[in-house]
Symmetry: C2
Subunit: 460 residues, 2 copies
C-alpha cells in the first residue's frame, strides 16, 4: 500500500474518493479477464486530462509504476498490475466530448463504453465500425491500447483504421496531441497509430477523435455447415477471392462443434457437421440480394452440408444460437482457457487448422478454435486444468509449437488481443533483433523512467 | 563532388555505373517538381536492400547526408538535395517481389511505378486503391514517404491504409522489418505507419507489402456545375452526409473556371458556371443506378446549373475535359505556382473557399483552388512571378494567412503532399511544442547522426 504521505498527494489531486487504497477496491483491481492477479498499491480514478497529467507527474516523483486500465476486459494481462504499481482507471473519464455527424467524427474520453459510441453514431445514420466481442462493456481506451477488432474488421478494418487523432500524456508527463480532425493528414509523424496498439506502454490516451462511417441499412446472416474443417477453410478462401467482402466471416472448427454438441446447443445443426461458417453481409437493402447470391455461390463447394440465410432479426438470432453458446460450452471442457489470437494469411488457414488438430492429438489437449476467418485470425483455446502440472507442461510445449507454426505460415502472434504480459515470451520468435531494439528505443523516448505499464508488450 | 576515394567505395559497392558524379546526372538530380535546386555530391542507384544498407553505412562513415528519391515528382521539395548530400535514387529497385492475389497483397520494391501496381492488381480483379495525380510516373517509395493519396481517398483511404508491412534501413544502418503479411496485426509497435509519411527522415524503405482490394466492376462520372463556390461546397456537405460514399468528389473553384475559360477549354460549361464538382461512383454494375440516384439527389440544390452523368468511357472522358485542362490553364496565369495542400473538416470547406477568395483580393494575387473536396483537401495555388519582389512578399503574407485560417477552421497543413523543405516553417503553428519535441526525439532514435533527408519534414 502507498505510504500515507504519497496517498495524501494523490488524494489532494483527485479527491479522497478517487485515490483508493481500501482492501475491496485493491482486490477488485488486482486482475483483469486474464488468469493471474497482483494487488496494486492504490487505484486512481482521474476525471480529466489535467488529472492524468498530475497522476503521471506524481508517479514519476515517487517512482511508482502505473498500470492503466479501461474495463479490465482484456485477456492478455494488459491491465494486470505489476508489483508495486498503482492502477490508473479511466472509468470516470467517460464523457462524449463532441459528436460531429457533419464531419463523421466523435471525440470521446477513454472510459466511454465501445458500444455506446456506436449507438450514438447510429442515431445519426452513422456507425463506429470496430466491434470487439467485449464491446458491450469494454472501454474505448482499452480498444485503442490493444488495437481491438472484431467480426466487422474483415470489411471495415480495425480500431487503428478509425482514429483521426489523440490527446495523450507520455511517461515524462508531456502532453501530446496527435493527428487532426480531418480525414487526411500528412503533416507530422504518425504518432496516432504509434500509440494505438502500444498497450499503454508509451503514453496514456486521454481523448480520441474517432472516424465514423455510414451505417449499413440492412444486415443479413448466413450459417453454413460443412463436413470438415478443410471444407470450411476452403470456402473461406473462395469468399476472400471474390468481390463481395462480407461484413463478418466467422469460423468454428470441429472441436468447437463438439463442445457445442456436448453443451446441448447443436440441435439445429445437420448431422455430420464438423465446421460452421457464420457469414454476414451488409449494405443498402436493394443491394443485399446481389451480395447474398455472390456469397452463397462462393460458399458452395465440396463438403457443404447446409446453407441457411436469415433475413429477419429473429431468423438471424436463431442462426447465431450455436455460435453464441460457444463460450459457455467451452468453459465446460476444463476450468482454464489458454487463449491465443494468432493470424495467418487467409490462404494458409486450412493448414493452420489441420496443424492445430494434430497438435491437440500429439499433446493430448482439447483445443477449440474459432474466430475471424476472413482475416485469417483464429482464437485458439487450449483447455487445461491449472493444477495438473503434466497437462500445463504439455500446454506450454503446444503453445510454442502453435506460435512457431503460425510464423512459419507467414502469420503473426496477435491480431486483436495484443501481447500484454502473457505473450511477451514469444515476441523474439517474430520480431527481428534490430527491429525489437528500435522498439525498445522508442519506449525509452516516451517513457524514460519506465513507469508506464511495465512488464507488458515487449520482452524484458 | 565526392572525394575520389569515397566515390571509389560507393563504386565498389554499387558498380561504377550506379555511383554517378558526372555533371549531367548531378544536374538531373538537383531538383524535383518543386521550384529550387541544389546539386548533389553524387547520385547512387542501389539495386537491392543489401546495397541500401551498404550505402547508409558508407554515408555514416563519411558523414554524408542522404537525399532519398523516388521519381522526384513531389512538390514540397522532399527529394531536393540538401547541400553536401548524395542522392539515393530507388529507380533501379523496381521489381515486383511477389504478387499474391489469394491473400490480396503485393510485395514491391520502392522504385515500382504506382500505376503499374494497380495495373497488375487489376489483372486479378483487384485494385491498388491510392491514386495520386502523379500515379503514372510516381514511384511507390515516394508515395509511402509522403503518405500520398488522390481522388479515391474519399472512399478508399490513403497510402497509409493500404500497407501491411515494410522492410527498411534506418539512419544507423539497422535493418528493420515491420508489420506482417496479414490483414490484422497487434503484435509490435506500429512502425509501419510511423515510417509512412515520414518523408525518408526516419528510414529508407526498401520493400513494401501492400494491401489490395477488389476492383470495382463499373465506374461512372458526374459533372455538376454551380452558380457559386458556396453552392458547390454546400453540395459537398450534402454528399458527405448521406450514405453513398462517392469514389471521387473533386471541386474546382471560380478562379479555376476562369482559368479554364481563358484557356479556351470551358465551352462545355453552361453560362454562369462559377464552380464545378466532378463526382465518381463505383461498384457492381447492378448497384450503380442506386448510387447515382442518391448522389444526384444530394447534388441538387440552390445554385445547381447543370448535372451530367457519364456512363460510357467516352462520356466520362468528355466530362473530365475541363478538369484535365486545369493544370495547363493555370500555367498561363503566371510562371510560378505556390502550391498548398491544406485540409479542413468538410463542414468548414465553404468558409475556407470564401476566405481564400477574400485573401486573393486583399493580397492582389490570383489564387486557383481545386481538389479533393470529399476529404476537405484543397490544393490552393498562388500564381506568382518569382522576379516580382512585391508580389512575392504579398504571396508570403497570403500563405501565412491561409495556414492560420486552415488551422482556425480545425484543419491541417498537408493532406497528401507532405511537408518537405517548403512547409517546415509552418509546422510550429500546428504541432504543439511537446509533441514536436517528441517527434524530434523519435528522429534521433532512428537517425542519431541526422544523415537521412536532413532539412525536411520537421523545422530545425
Amino acid at each position: 500500500m502507498l505510504p500515507p504521505t504519497v496517498l495524501a498527494e494523490f488524494a489532494a489531486l483527485l479527491g479522497t474518493e478517487r485515490a483508493r487504497v481500501d482492501a475491496d477496491t485493491l482486490a477488485l483491481y488486482a486482475q483483469d479477464e486474464t488468469p493471474g492477479r497482483c494487488t496494486p498499491e492504490a487505484v486512481l480514478f482521474p476525471t480529466s486530462h489535467a488529472e492524468v497529467v498530475g497522476c503521471v507527474r506524481l508517479a514519476l516523483e515517487h517512482k511508482l509504476p502505473i498500470t492503466p486500465r479501461g474495463a479490465g476486459s482484456g485477456n492478455v494481462g494488459g491491465a494486470q498490475p505489476t508489483p508495486g504499481s498503482v492502477v490508473l482507471s479511466f472509468e470516470c473519464m467517460n464523457r462524449i466530448v463532441e459528436f460531429d455527424p457533419a464531419n463523421r467524427l466523435i471525440v470521446v474520453e477513454p472510459g466511454v463504453i465501445t458500444q455506446d459510441i456506436d449507438r450514438l453514431a447510429r442515431s445519426a445514420g452513422l456507425m463506429y465500425a470496430p466491434d470487439p466481442g467485449s464491446g458491450a462493456y469494454s472501454r474505448i481506451g482499452g480498444n485503442l491500447a490493444m488495437n481491438a477488432a472484431g467480426p466487422r474488421a474483415v470489411k471495415y478494418g480495425v480500431t487503428r483504421d478509425h482514429v483521426l487523432g489523440l490527446r495523450a500524456v507520455d511517461g515524462s508527463g508531456r502532453e501530446l496531441r496527435t493527428g487532426s480532425r480531418t480525414s487526411k493528414y500528412a503533416t507530422g509523424y504518425d504518432l496516432t497509430r504509434l500509440l494505438i496498439g502500444s498497450e499503454g506502454t508509451l503514453a496514456l490516451i486521454t481523448e480520441a477523435t474517432l472516424r465514423l462511417v455510414p451505417a449499413p441499412e440492412r444486415t443479413v446472416s448466413l450459417r453454413v455447415c460443412y463436413a470438415s474443417d478443410t471444407a470450411a477453410c476452403t470456402a473461406v478462401q473462395r469468399i476472400m477471392q471474390q468481390a463481395v467482402v462480407p461484413s463478418a466471416l466467422e469460423f468454428m472448427d470441429r472441436r468447437s462443434i463438439e463442445a457445442i454438441t456436448e453443451f446441448g446447443a447443436a440441435e439445429g445443426l445437420p448431422p455430420g457437421t464438423e465446421a460452421v461458417l457464420m457469414v454476414e453481409a451488409d449494405g443498402p437493402a436493394e443491394d443485399i440480394p446481389r451480395q447474398v447470391a455472390a456469397l452463397e455461390n462462393a460458399l458452395r463447394g465440396d463438403g457443404l452440408l447446409e446453407l441457411q440465410t436469415g433475413f429477419t432479426p429473429a431468423e438471424i438470432q436463431n442462426l447465431w444460437t450455436a455460435r453464441k453458446s460457444l463460450s459457455h460450452a467451452v468453459k465446460k471442457i476444463a476450468p482454464l482457457k489458454l487463449n491465443e489470437d494468432v493470424v495467418v494469411p487467409v490462404s494458409r488457414l486450412a493448414e493452420l487448422v489441420a496443424a492445430i488438430d494434430a497438435m491437440g492429438t500429439l499433446h493430448r489437449l482439447p483445443i477449440v478454435s474459432f474466430g475471424h476467418a476472413g482475416n485469417g485470425n483464429l482464437h485458439v483455446n487450449l483447455m487445461v486444468h491449472p493444477d495438473d502440472e503434466g497437462e500445463m507442461a504439455r500446454a506450454e510445449a503446444c503453445l510454442r509449437e502453435l506460435i512457431e507454426t503460425v510464423l512459419r505460415l507467414g502469420g503473426t502472434l496477435s491480431g486483436e488481443h495484443g501481447i500484454g504480459n502473457k505473450k511477451r515470451k514469444f515476441i523474439l520468435l517474430e520480431i527481428e533483433p534490430d527491429t525489437l531494439a528500435l522498439m525498445r528505443d522508442l519506449k525509452r523516448v516516451f517513457d524514460p523512467q519506465g513507469i508506464l505499464n511495465p512488464g507488458k508488450k515487449l520482452p524484458d
